[in-house]
């Protein structure tokens, strides 16, 4: 999975209007040339759902709330994913809740929700570094696995 450097996205909502002010590049529109080799179908699904796909520029253009934007990543078979700042993590079953909280805090993370199945925790605090944080956690003996929470097109069949 690789982060797409050319664009990032903002979810449906007020960030869109902020995006087009201050001379910053506006969202891609249907027919716009796609940066890199992004899969058009997946990109269109995001746009159809109200997400704005915006060219990435160095620095923070005036009027743009950079926190409102999320990284975009491509998967090994051309899938397109929005990388949220959350992870799901399965810890060694012997860890206590306090142990888990301490371990996460060491990585700037915290428990957002215990999912109730599979011994899973939803963990927040990764900002735009969810992929890197997942890699870090997967390197720990106390972690069975960690994976980023990714937004993806999941249509109806």
């Amino acid at each position: 999975m690789e982060i797409v450097n050319d664009v990032h996205v903002s979810p449906p909502g007020p960030a869109h209007s902020a995006d087009t002010s201050g001379g910053a590049p506006g969202p891609l529109t249907p027919g716009s040339p796609l940066p890199g080799n992004l899969p058009a179908g997946s990109l269109q699904s995001l746009v159809d759902s109200g997400w704005a796909v915006v060219p990435h520029v160095a620095g923070a253009p005036q009027g743009r709330d950079e926190d409102a934007f999320l990284p975009l990543a491509t998967g090994e078979h051309g899938g397109l994913f929005v990388v949220t700042g959350a992870l799901t993590v399965q810890f060694d079953a012997h860890l206590s809740e306090d142990d888990i909280a301490r371990l996460l805090a060491d990585h700037g993370l915290h428990v957002r929700r215990k999912l109730g199945f599979g011994g899973l925790y939803l963990v927040s605090g990764a900002g735009d570094q969810a992929l890197a944080k997942a890699m870090d956690l997967n390197g720990l003996d106390q972690v069975s696995f960690a994976e980023p929470v990714l937004v993806e097109p999941l249509g109806a069949r």
């Binding site: 899938g79 899973l120 109806a156 069949r157």
Partner: protein, 519 residues
Amino acid sequence: MVSQSNKERTFARLSRLEALPDILPSQPGVPRVDVSVAVRSGAFASSDAQTRARLDVPAEDVFASATSFLSRTCGYEDQVARFAEAGMLFFYPRRDLLDASLDERRARGGNGAVSRVFVDDGRLLLETGRVLIGFDPETREADRKLIMDRAGLLELAGSGLPQGVWRALVLDGTPAVEKCLNLLDENKVTFAEPDFIEQVGGRLTPDDPLFTQQWHHKAIDCEAAWDMSLGTDVRVAMIDNGFKTDHGDLAFAAGSGFFRTTSDFQDADFVPGTLGMPEGDHGTATAGMIAAIKGNGFGGCGVAFESKLMGISCLNDQVGTQSTLGRAIAYAARPDLEGRAEAGADVICCSLGPDGAVWRMSETLRLAIEFAATQGRGGLGCPVFWASTNGNYPIGADEVCSHPDTIAIGRSTEADTDDSSGYGRELEFLATGARVRLPSGNGGYGFKHGTSFAAPCAAGVAALMLSVNSQLTARELRQMMRNSCDKIGTLPYILGRNARFGWGRISARRAVEAARAGV
């Protein structure tokens, strides 16, 4: 290997039968409509008098009519009335007729086929000398015959019975119930039960105005299945983007609700109930395939129209996280995970996913599916039906549909062919999903096309099965569905399946028969 649970269930069923030792039926013959009318109208005293008058058994052999006892006291009006319409009346015989052999009873005008009358779970069951026996599929023919000979059984023609089931006549005079209990001691016998005579109502044909346009019911033989099961009270969770909850042909049960994505897209909050539920044409149709209401003068009906529909909405923008999807599945199986007290679903169905070739599954979603398939239904497991890709792609590239705990469904057409949806060894079977008439998001009905609608068709059949055999594990139910598929199409089935049709096209009738027989 014989499943011990099949035997245990059969043993339990036979052990709880309650005999009505002093009651016999007359033999079938001329319809006794006057008795039937009296029973249905509640004129029980009159029904007893008419029974005495209409019995072909000599008066000296009859102590009293049993019509009002069975109708009024026991509450079996409908069955007693229908038996009367078949000419069979119930009475208390004098002792010497009760003690007589079947042949002697017949010679004296009584019923020479029925030895005793039982009740079980509200059903009147008339014991005959015939039994139904299931054998372990690995049983050699010679061993089977040896067991039947040893038990004093004469094999009868078995056409129409599920594979692996035989009908036989008890030759040694042992009552069928006791004979079956003895047969259950045989290692290779999977079940043995009396071939009871019971009242089976006329074929249930819904009068909903669009029923005749719902070709899928006929294709999978729903009407025959409905004679055995309506899916009553089985809880089916349909996980979809959204539902039109005020659609006139849908009713959503407790436990319905939706996952509302948080503003940072990292999480979702579960909102119980249908107030504020996202609307969706797709989910409205999938829900309708399962449980559209019968007999309300509107639209058509669902495959399991008496099941309880749990509509669970998530990913309503058609984008979202597998984490939320996993939570929806786990919630369906165990609502307490989201702090809810409602009962979990017995059957889970989902028709979401990309139509491309590849779908990578997160560990979170994998664990959720495994949780539901093993921990749902108090540990019996929820069968998890999933619509396979609509594209002509191998299902093996879809990690969700090819997971061992997911039952991947393809779509079949009105012509009973496959429709070029996903294929491969991970395809379970086909169900009707091409141009099917289902509820729409606009409040009416429309023609829908896709595996999305085949999967809930299969889920509906599963509900019908669990309604007649609630103790089936998810794995047992899945195997029964496989075994009971109709082998449609021209492609050969190698060891029961092929890549385009899986195990075939689901048959509601055969699946329910298998569930009822426990094989």
